[in-house]
C-alpha cells in the first residue's frame, strides 16, 4: 500500500495548514498571555468539524478526510507527536528534586493526587449518570479514569505560569515544581494501569496482576539500569559522535524502544517513552542546550500536530453538554485546589501560600488532553465527556495564573523590597547622626510591631559596628536578624545627608532599616541584593530623596 501523488500532496498540504493555523492561534494566545497550547487546540476546533466542517464541509473533507491512506498517515504523525511530547515530559521530571525537597512537597503532591482522585473516583462510581458513563460494565475502570483525570497536573503550564509570575526561582516555585513532577509521575503510573485494564482485549492480554507486575518491573528496570547505562553512554556519545546529532538520536531511539515495549504489553506507548524520558533527564551529562533543541523541535513541530488533531476529530458544539462541563469543572477545582492546599497547610505553610500552591497545581493543560484523547480512542469515554474534559483542561490552565497572582500580591513570601514598604513606614527625619536615625527607625518599628526597642536597637548597632552598612550612592542599609517571623522594613529620608563611612564617602540620604528573621539568612540576603540592585545610581537616589511625601516616594520606588 502506498500513497498516490494526490494523497501525498493532500497529506503535505494538510500538515502545512495545521502548522500554519497552530502557529497563528498560538501566537495570538501568547499575545494574550495565555498558554500557546490553548491556541493550538482552538486552531483544531476551527479547522475541524465544529467550524470548517460545518461551513465548508467539502474543503474540510478534501483536506482531512480525502482517503483512508491520508487519514492513517496523519494519525501516524500525530501519534509520533504525542509520543515525543511525553518523552520531553519525562525528561523534565527531576526525581532528585523531589527527594531533596522537604516532605512538604511529598505531602502536597500526595494529597494533590489522593484527594482529587478520591473525589473523581467516588463521584463517578456512585453517580455515573452525571458523569456520562454509558457502559455500566465499565463502571470501575471509568471511575478510575475520572479519578486519574482529575488528579493530573500539567508541568509545562505550571512552569510557564511560575516563570511569568517571576516566582520560578523561589522557595514556593521549587516546591510547586517538585510537587508537580511527583504528581506527574504517580498520575501516569495510575493511568497506565487503567489503560492496561481497558486494553484487556488487546492482542497480548495480560492478567491484571501480571500487568501491574510488568509495569513495576519495567519502571524499576528503566530507572535503575537503563538510567545508569544512559549516564555512562552520553559522555561517550558526546565525545565520539557528532554533537548534538549523536545524543539526539540516542535519546529518540531509547524513547521509541520504551514506547514500543509498553504498547506491546497493552499499556499505551506514551507510558514507556515517559519513563525512559525520566531516565534520560536524570543524567548530569545531558546538556541544557540538548534539552532545549529537543524541546524546540518537539513543541513547535510535532506537539502542534497532535493538539490540532484533537479538534479535527470532534464537533465541539454538537457535543457540548453544559451540565457535564460544569460537573467536571467543579470536581476538578474542588479536588485539586482543596487537596493541594490542605497538603501545603499541613506541611506548615500559611493559608495564603497554601492557596497559591493549590491553584498553581490546578492547571491541567496538555497532559489532561493527552489522557482524554487516549481514553476516547479506547472508547472508554464518549464525545461529550471528551469535550467536557478538554474544556476543563483549558479553563483550569487559563485561570491558574490570574488566581495565583491575586494571592501572590498578598504573599509576603515574595520578598520584594517595594512590596514590604508602607506609607507609614517612611520617615522624613531631621536627625543628623547615624545613631540618632537608627534609634528613630528602631523606635518606630518597635512601637508598630510591638517589639522590644532595646533588643532591636542593640542588634542593629552590633551589626553596624562590625562593618559599615553604607553602600555608597547616598544609601545606607542598617540591618539585623532578630527573632521575628516576617521581614520588616522602615525608611528614613534625610536630604542633607549623614556621615555613614561609605566606601565612596558620600553621606547617606536614604536610610533603609531592614529586619529579617534570625533563622532565615537567605531572606536577608535576598532583600539586601534586591535593594542594592534597584538603588544602583546616585541620580536615582537623589530623585527619590526629593519626594515631597511618603506616597510619592513609594510610587517612585515601585517604578524601579
Amino acid at each position: 500500500m502506498s500513497l498516490s501523488p494526490t494523497d501525498i500532496t493532500i497529506f503535505l498540504l494538510s500538515i502545512s495548514v495545521i502548522l500554519f493555523f497552530a502557529r497563528g492561534f498560538g501566537e495570538l494566545l501568547r499575545y494574550l498571555k495565555q498558554p500557546i497550547v490553548i491556541g493550538e487546540i482552538i486552531a483544531g476546533i476551527i479547522l475541524g468539524p465544529t467550524i470548517l466542517g460545518t461551513i465548508f464541509p467539502e474543503t474540510f473533507n478534501s483536506l482531512f478526510n480525502q482517503s483512508e491512506e491520508v487519514v492513517i498517515a496523519l494519525n501516524g504523525i500525530t501519534l509520533l507527536g504525542v509520543v515525543m511530547l511525553l518523552l520531553i515530559s519525562g525528561i523534565e521530571i527531576d526525581l532528585s528534586l523531589v527527594l531533596r525537597q522537604s516532605k512538604v512537597a511529598v505531602i502536597i503532591s500526595m494529597l494533590g493526587i489522593i484527594f482529587p482522585f478520591g473525589v473523581g473516583f467516588f463521584s463517578a462510581y456512585f453517580f455515573p449518570q452525571y458523569l456520562g458513563l454509558t457502559d455500566y460494565n465499565m463502571r470501575l475502570v471509568y471511575a478510575l479514569f475520572v479519578g486519574t483525570a482529575l488528579s493530573i497536573t500539567a508541568l509545562p503550564v505550571v512552569a510557564r505560569t511560575l516563570m511569568d509570575l517571576q516566582i520560578f526561582k523561589s522557595e514556593i516555585g521549587y516546591l510547586i515544581m517538585a510537587a508537580a513532577m511527583f504528581n506527574d509521575l504517580i498520575g501516569w503510573i495510575i493511568f497506565s494501569v487503567v489503560l492496561g485494564m481497558i486494553g484487556q482485549n488487546s492482542e497480548h492480554p495480560l492478567s491484571l496482576s501480571s500487568l501491574i507486575l510488568t509495569i513495576i518491573g519495567f519502571i524499576l528496570f528503566v530507572l535503575l539500569f537503563v538510567r545508569k547505562f544512559i549516564n555512562y553512554s552520553i559522555p561517550f556519545i558526546q565525545r565520539r559522535f557528532t554533537f548534538p546529532g549523536g545524543v539526539l538520536n540516542f535519546i529518540f531511539i531509547l524513547g521509541f524502544l520504551g514506547a514500543a515495549f509498553t504498547e506491546y504489553i497493552g499499556v499505551h506507548a506514551i507510558f514507556g517513552v515517559f519513563i525512559v524520558g525520566i531516565a534520560i533527564g536524570d543524567s548530569v551529562h545531558l546538556k541544557e542546550e540538548t534539552r532545549e533543541i529537543i524541546y524546540q523541535f518537539v513543541t513547535n513541530i510535532f506537539a502542534p500536530l497532535f493538539f490540532v488533531s484533537i479538534g479535527l476529530r470532534i464537533n465541539f458544539i454538537e457535543n457540548f453538554d453544559l451540565v457535564l462541563v460544569v460537573v467536571f469543572l467543579v470536581l476538578a477545582f474542588a479536588g485539586k485546589v482543596i487537596g493541594c492546599s490542605i497538603g501545603a497547610y499541613m506541611g506548615g505553610m500559611n493559608k495564603n501560600d497554601s492557596l497559591i500552591i493549590g491553584f498553581g497545581m490546578n492547571s491541567r493543560g496538555a497532559m489532561e488532553i493527552v489522557l482524554a484523547t487516549l481514553a476516547f480512542q479506547y472508547n472508554l469515554i464518549n464525545e461529550k465527556v471528551f469535550v467536557a474534559i478538554v474544556i476543563m483542561a483549558l479553563v483550569t490552565s487559563i485561570s491558574s495564573a490570574p488566581i495565583m497572582n491575586y494571592f501572590l500580591k498578598k504573599a509576603k513570601t515574595r520578598l520584594r523590597f517595594d512590596m514590604l514598604l508602607k506609607n507609614e513606614s517612611v520617615i522624613f527625619t531631621k536627625e543628623n547622626s547615624k545613631y540618632g536615625v537608627i534609634k528613630e527607625l528602631c523606635t518606630y518599628v518597635a512601637n508598630s510591631k510591638k517589639l522590644d526597642l532595646n533588643v532591636v536597637y542593640d542588634e542593629v548597632i552590633k551589626r553596624e559596628e562590625t562593618i559599615s552598612t553604607g553602600l555608597g550612592n547616598h544609601l545606607a542599609i542598617p540591618h539585623a536578624r532578630i527573632n521575628i517571623k516576617e521581614p520588616i522594613v522602615a525608611v528614613a529620608v534625610q536630604p542633607e545627608g549623614i556621615e555613614w563611612n561609605s566606601l565612596d564617602n558620600l553621606p547617606a540620604k536614604l536610610i533603609i532599616l531592614l529586619l529579617t528573621p534570625a533563622d532565615k539568612p537567605e531572606i536577608q540576603l535576598k532583600l539586601l541584593s534586591d535593594i542594592a540592585k534597584k538603588f544602583n545610581d546616585v541620580a536615582l537616589i537623589e530623585n527619590i530623596v526629593s519626594s515631597k511625601d511618603s506616597k510619592e516616594l513609594i510610587s517612585k520606588v515601585k517604578q524601579l
Partner: protein, 278 residues
C-alpha cells in the same frame, strides 16, 4: 576554637601512619584534644602495634586518648564519636570506589554520611603531611552554612591558605520546560543571566555579613545541578580542601540511587573533604 576534640579512626593499613601524622598536625594546629579510635580485639599484640605507631609520630602518652571498640567498624566508630563528644572525625578514603562498594557503603563513606560530628576525609595522606593551601567552601544560605564558612575561614587562616573560594550553587529545576510553552530560548537565557547576577550579589552580601577579615577570598555562583557543579569546579580549580555543610537530612539508600547534592561529591571526591555538622 574551631574544633575541641578530634578523633582519628586508626588502622594498620599503609595509610595508617600518614593519617596519624596528619591528625597530630591538626591537633597542634587547632590546639585541641586527640582521640584515637581503634576497632578490633584488644590484645597485647595490637597494643604493641599502636604504641609503635604513636612513638613514630612522637606523641607522648598523655597527649592522646586511645579508645578500643569491638564490632562492625563504621557503627563502632560512630558510637565512639557520640560517647566521647568528638567534634571532628578524621579518616582516609579512596577518591572513588567500585560501583558495588558504593551502593553497599564502605566504612569511610558510611562515616561521611552518618557520623554525628564533622568529618575530615583525607584522600592523599602524605608521609609528611602538608598544609591545606587552597580552600573551596560550598555555601548554603542557612545557619549551618554560616557555621561552615566561619570554621573553614578560621581553619584557612591557621593554615595561611593562599586561596579561599566561596561557591554557591543554584539550580532552577525545569527551566528548559518553560520554552515548552510560549517561552523562547532568549527569554530563558535572559532569566538565567539575571539569576546568576542575583546569586552572585547574594553571595557577596553573605560574605560581607560573615565579616571575613585577614585573608582574601573570592566568590563564585554556579548554575547547574547541585553538588555536581561544585564538585567539578573544585576538581578543575585544583583545590586541596573542599568544605561542605552536611545535608539537612540523613542520606539513605534511595539518595545513592538518585544522586543529588552531596552524593555527587561522595561518589567521586575531588580532593580532601571536610563535612561540617553542628
Amino acid at each position: 576554637m574551631i574544633f575541641n576534640r578530634i578523633a582519628l579512626a586508626i588502622t594498620f593499613s599503609p595509610n595508617g601512619l600518614p593519617l596519624l601524622k596528619s591528625a597530630v598536625r591538626l591537633k597542634k594546629l587547632f590546639g585541641c584534644e586527640l582521640y584515637l579510635i581503634h576497632v578490633g580485639e584488644k590484645s597485647s599484640d595490637q597494643e604493641e602495634k599502636i604504641n609503635d605507631l604513636v612513638k613514630q609520630v612522637g606523641l607522648s602518652d598523655t597527649s592522646y586518648k586511645l579508645i578500643w571498640k569491638k564490632g562492625e567498624p563504621s557503627k563502632s566508630i560512630i558510637n565512639a564519636v557520640t560517647e566521647n563528644q568528638i567534634d571532628l572525625l578524621i579518616a582516609g578514603a579512596l577518591e572513588k570506589e567500585t560501583v558495588i562498594k558504593y551502593y553497599l557503603g564502605s566504612v569511610a563513606r558510611t562515616l561521611m554520611r552518618e557520623s554525628p560530628s564533622s568529618v575530615l576525609i583525607l584522600t592523599h595522606p602524605e608521609p609528611e603531611p602538608k598544609e591545606f593551601k587552597k580552600f573551596c567552601v560550598s555555601v548554603d544560605f542557612n545557619e549551618l552554612g554560616e557555621t561552615a564558612v566561619k570554621k573553614s575561614y578560621q581553619f584557612a587562616k591557621l593554615e595561611h591558605a593562599e586561596e579561599f573560594v566561596l561557591i554557591k550553587e543554584f539550580e532552577v529545576p525545569g527551566l528548559a520546560i518553560t520554552v515548552y510553552d510560549s517561552g523562547s530560548t532568549s527569554d530563558t537565557e535572559k532569566s538565567k543571566h539575571e539569576w546568576q547576577k542575583e546569586e552572585e550579589e547574594k553571595l557577596k552580601f553573605f560574605a560581607k555579613e560573615m565579616n571575613l577579615v585577614g585573608l582574601n577570598y573570592s566568590t563564585v555562583a554556579l548554575f547547574g545541578k547541585q553538588g555536581w557543579e561544585a564538585r567539578n569546579f573544585v576538581k578543575n580549580n585544583g583545590s586541596d580542601l573542599f568544605v561542605v555543610p552536611s545535608p539537612p537530612k540523613k542520606l539513605k539508600f534511595f539518595d545513592k540511587l538518585f544522586q543529588h547534592d552531596i552524593e555527587f561529591i561522595l561518589s567521586q571526591l575531588p580532593c580532601s573533604l571536610l563535612i561540617i555538622r553542628n
